[in-house]
Amino acid sequence: MASALINVPAKAKRGEIIEIKTLMSHIMETGYRRTATGELIPRNIITSFSCRYNGAEIFRADLFPAIAANPFITFFTVATESGKFDFDWIGDNGFAESASALITVE
């Protein structure tokens, strides 16, 4: 069961550097492990993460099997205008989750 946590400041001053934190619950199964009977456990990871600020992409990351379960991604941006941040996680087996947060820039 996937669930996203995001932390975007509700308010910021124009031009202020703000920190954005995200955490997506995901098993991040590497595809290299085997079961007790020797069968390969199929890979099941998030492959990409992106963040759009009022429609324009401001951050993107490709994820790989070496990344631990429940990826915690944090980054900074400049608060330019009031509006919306959209977050998207895409992965194996048709995994697709999204979340959004509003910001007021004064």
């Binding site: 669930s3 946590l5 995001i6 932390n7 934190k21 955490l23 619950s25 379960a69 429940n70 915690f72 944090t74």
Partner: protein, 422 residues
Amino acid sequence: MNALQTRRNVVRGLAAAAALTLASPSFAQSAARVVVIGGGFGGASCARALRRIDPALQVTLIEPNRVFTACPFSNEVIAGLRELKSQQFTYDRIIAEGVTVIAQAATRIDPSTRTVGLADGTTLGYDRLVLAPGIDLRFDALPGYDEAASTKMPHAWKAGEQTALLRRQLEAMEDGGTVVLAVPASPSRCPPAPYERASLIAHYLKANKPRSKVLILDAKDAFPQQRLFENAWKELYPGMIERIALSQGGRVVSVDPATNTIVTDFGNYPAKVANVIPPQKAGRIAEIAGAADHTGWCPIDPVTFASKLVPDVHVIGDACIAGGIPKSASAANAEAKACATAIISLMAGKSPETPRLNGACYNTVAPGYAFSLSGLYQPKDGQFVEVEANVTSPVDAPREVRQREADTAQAWFKTITVDAFG
């Protein structure tokens, strides 16, 4: 500058050692001297074991507190089920057995001259030094949480006044309040203890302040005996204990003592009572001795507990890196005896035997309701590993089994405190 300082230390150390020899003419030249720093379960057990194995040995225990307050069972004090004084032990019996106990803090260690400096300025020589300093709380690790903050948001992770403070805060809290526990990542002292504490606080609240809640903010996803705890919470305290794990954003990143608020990456949690257990490291003297590495803990040879960083120094208990052995009173006690045996062998020029250590851990979730975990550990590839799978209480068991384990837990406490303090 460095060279000068070193030489000065050597001279001072030599002078002090000479003074000590002159001042103690009654000791035979051959009596080997072992100094143990720290009078907790590790240090006290080790000092006694050394004397027991070799009565000719000159054993000194350095511990600034004249009364020791034990952590195991202190969660029951917090819940009002037990008096703090039943947690307290003196060193009288250890002194009667011929161990010299010095009620001073050790402040300096010079491995090159094998001397320990005490807070009152005196210096002591040793042939072997055992460090059993337990933990120090890292007041630099959690923004907002320093020593002053701990008087408002108690850690109660060293038993004593902090235990009493958390108890008083719970008693003063109005019904309907939220008690928030901040739990650190591993390694830390007694990994299951935060969950035992949450259980026993819920026990107190259920009887006295039933609209109140316990919230655990956790820097870990999994914890020991998790299913047993979670089943007990459902059975005994339905809806009272909530836990936010690491992967749900539970890691605490800062605290605000002014508003009694605990902050995670994804939320602010105002608390009526805030129990903040900060990250930890080996007791300060380990760092002073140079026995702690960049992790803050002390790497050791698992056969002898000899420090990998400082010669003629051994480290036992919570302060050492003991691989798979969880930091606990039980482990410290077992390590202490193995270390004492190894020291005697080393000083006699024999090669020490490979120890097998037992660790036991009891968790009480309500009066008459406990479960346990025990393990057997042995050195392998330079580190302690579990030799046999842990024996853990069954997940499904009738209440008689839990009652029996609660009785066993009481007996265990009696046994280990008698073993350590006489």
